[in-house]
Symmetry: C2
Subunit: 449 residues, 2 copies
């Protein structure tokens, strides 16, 4: 493929694997790469202010806190509260359907109006630009749980929730990823270059103006539909990085931290089936059952019906079932290894038929079944089929009797039998009793009819 | 073992497998074995009365029906109703803890007083003598679901519930079993020989007298604590033969009909974990979890604490887990067979390294991984890691890149990959790109640090 090498060469300047270090498009955020980064130094009484990313701390913690306190003086207007909730869902969708599934994972394609809408309401959630967010998220998928994962849950639940933002991180630590596609998307580039304008407009001005012009609640609009709504969206969507890597089941793979849980789904507009998502990241769905809560999926599907979204990607059910099956198999194999399956055949002594007969005559309760000699002494009194039947097989090859001749023993009986192994018959599996009967020309029948 | 042959010879008169035909101890119930049995003839307008076992029909259906109607004239005294329920549980236990677990399955041993109590209250349930009941039940376990099973559910739910009793059965059809132990138990033999006296005393006279002498409700005692209580016990315990083979899960074996269900357990004093029970019949428990309903087990355990019962048999947890695991494995294997795992390697053409390179140069999107050639043409645009990365591996051996060199692909990715197989490399699995780099003495590195 000629075109392939062209595409990959576009990013190949930096690294042979087609990825590049994340380079901010706007600022020239310089720092001395010789000096060790602040995050690599222990926090002390003197240097602690340098450890904090103050801009993020103010946006994520200080402002919401002021907003919360000011509700004491700013009464809640029910129209403002209703609009806040309504707008909450739009901005939430901006993150889940826009930032996450559309841009970070290319799980579907969006028409220009849809992309503009998602870039706008996504900015209203105040979680950084699409470009920055998606780069970090791709690193999170590619390097999940490692040091290169920007919000690795292995560093603690709080770290993955907000710690990674409020403390300064070494920019060199974050894994590299390929964002060629995003750099080619004009909506992404525009939003990134004008991010500060965009987010102030969408997160603060727009809701204030709506509540102000609509029902003259300018201050309420600013506090409730602006600041507090931002706070709730942030905390909810951050749960995808924390809760979704901490709470729930792992039906597809348990080597890494992602988990499926309905609580996470309820909090995050459907991003709660995160074990599935890490396994099938470019699937436009997170929940694959119709009864599971995934409103983001429902919206994308609706946009498709309206002609606003297309090329919805979906892994084949066959691939999904294969993953689930392999994980179940793994669990089963782990369980199997903890159980006692009897002495392995290769560790048993090889015994001749005549020795077997001789030892049985000496009083040992030995029974040969399928070429293996079993010592049933301790079991005779417990045999569910009675003492007489099991005793009648001592010193004989009971392969046929045991397997239906007299009674077709259950799986459980076969398992139990294998724990009684004491030797392997030389010559292997032979139905001795039948051979003898034929030889002596007698009619010994163990069939029941 | 010398004693073994002695034990087995005691029953060996009849059949070489140590069992015997069920022979009534009392009557000499003769029938002409030459003439075909009535159950082998179709029911006609003329012969239908001969098809019915009238004694059983009267006991199981007619009398309860009369009892039900007579409640219209006999008012229910609350003391009588309370006593009926109390006595119901005793007689129910007679069947579950006595007839079933103690005598039919020897799941534990009982002291003489306990055995007398169980034989007495068991007779109060009016389900035949211990000897007759246990013989049939052992045949049911040994020949489950076959024609020799006296209450095979394969003949219909109603047949297994009561049909097998109200219609005459060919006595030759019922499977043979070993009841030597029962013939040696004086309580069993006495109860069998005096069965009619015992059951009339325990099922009718005793409850009537208690209610009569106790609170002067002679007629109510007869109808409620006698007839109607018998009816409810019968219907409840019959559910073990019907419902327990029809409703629920099969965690241990799905080749036969027994099933586990909490509803059956609630109805039958804990005999509802029937799939477990058929697999581990001589376990004194039916429910193995503490939170499952098995009052019969709780009673046996309590009797043990009181010194009335001993030698409680229990299969090792290891054996139980093995059974459960094998059934899960079976389910998984069935599921596995329905999925598409890609063309098997042995059906793929063998391709030389140079042909692979040549075809890739001609524009085919081929990637070699672990000695297998994959056609990724249709997947490039869908690749979650981006077009550039996957394209950069075309015409190369990407074993190392795919398995961690660039990105350690998930299980899901490996599964997907196997559906894209088109050929096997001659020479097998070779990390060509590394070999070439070494040969050309260039430093090609795909590691990320
Ligand atoms: C050699 C070791 C043996 C073991 C470990 C064994 C184990 C068992 C077990 C666990 C059961 C309970 C039902 C089941 O799980 O299928 C059972 C039932 C039975 N066994 Fe065996 N058995 C052995 C030998 C024999 C022999 C040699 C005979 C016959 C000659 C025999 C005849 C029966 C019969 C007839 C039953 C059915 C009893 C009933 O369900 O009422 N068994 N055995
Ligand atoms: C040859 C067939 C390939 C298949 C079928 C395939 C499949 C996939 C799949 C299903 C994923 C989603 C995550 C996962 O399941 O692990 C993925 C992610 C990824 N693949 Fe591939 N891949 C292929 C080749 C490559 C190659 C050759 C490279 C690198 C040169 C590559 C690099 C990546 C990266 C970096 C990711 C992570 C992207 C992210 O999570 O953001 N893949 N691939
Ligand atoms: Fe994640
Ligand atoms: Fe994701
Ligand atoms: Fe049964
Ligand atoms: Fe049973």
């Amino acid at each position: 493929m000629a075109s392939a090498s062209t595409t990959s060469s576009m990013q190949a300047e930096a690294f042979p694997d087609g990825t590049s270090e994340y380079k901010p498009l706007r600022a020239s955020n310089k720092f001395d790469s010789k000096k060790p980064h602040i995050s690599d130094q222990p926090m002390t009484l003197k240097n602690w202010p340098q450890h904090f990313n103050w801009l993020n701390t103010i946006i994520i913690i200080v402002i919401p806190f002021i907003g919360l306190i000011s509700t004491y003086w700013v009464p809640a207007n029910w129209k403002t509260v209703a609009f806040s909730i309504f707008y909450y869902f739009h901005c939430g969708l901006g993150i889940t359907a826009g930032y996450h599934r559309l841009w970070a994972h290319s799980a579907y394609k969006g028409s220009l109006p849809l992309k503009i809408y998602l870039a706008a309401v996504g900015a209203g959630a105040v979680e950084g630009s699409i470009r920055w967010w998606s780069h970090g998220h791709r690193a999170h998928h590619r390097y999940t749980d490692t040091d290169k994962d920007p919000y690795s849950v292995r560093k603690g639940l709080m770290y993955s929730h907000i710690g990674w933002m409020i403390f300064n991180q070494n920019p060199k630590r974050k894994g590299r990823t390929d964002i060629t596609d995003l750099n080619e998307d004009p909506v992404v580039v525009w939003q990134h270059k004008n991010y500060i304008k965009t987010f102030i407009t969408m997160a603060l001005i727009f809701p204030t103006v709506v509540c102000g012009l609509g029902w003259n609640d300018w201050l309420g609009g600013f506090i409730y539909a602006g600041i507090l709504r931002i706070f709730f969206i942030q905390q909810a969507t951050f749960c995808v990085n924390s809760l979704a890597h901490w709470l729930g089941e792992q039906p597809f793979d348990d080597r890494n931290s992602p988990r499926d849980h309905v609580i996470t789904a309820l909090v995050t507009l459907g991003e709660g089936y995160h074990n599935f998502h890490h396994e099938f990241p470019s699937d436009y769905r997170n929940a694959i059952q119709w009864y599971q809560y995934d409103p983001t999926k429902w919206c994308i599907w609706t946009w498709k019906q309206l002609g606003l979204a297309y090329d919805l990607k979906q892994f084949r059910q066959n691939e999904i079932e294969k993953g689930r099956l392999q994980q179940m198999q793994k669990k089963l194999d782990q369980k199997r290894a903890t159980l006692d399956w009897g002495t392995p055949l290769e560790q048993l002594p090889v015994v001749s038929w005549d020795d077997f007969i001789a030892q049985s005559k000496e009083g040992k309760a030995l029974i040969a079944i399928a070429g293996v000699i079993h010592d049933v002494s301790d079991f005779i009194k417990d045999h569910p089929g009675g003492k007489a039947l099991i005793s009648s097989a001592i010193g004989k090859d009971a392969t046929a009797i045991f397997n239906g001749g007299v009674y077709n023993h259950s799986n459980a009986a076969h398992n139990l039998l294998s724990t009684m192994r004491v030797g392997v018959l030389r010559g292997g599996c032979e139905v001795e009793i039948w051979k003898r009967a034929q030889f002596e020309n007698k009619d010994v029948s163990y069939v029941n009819d």
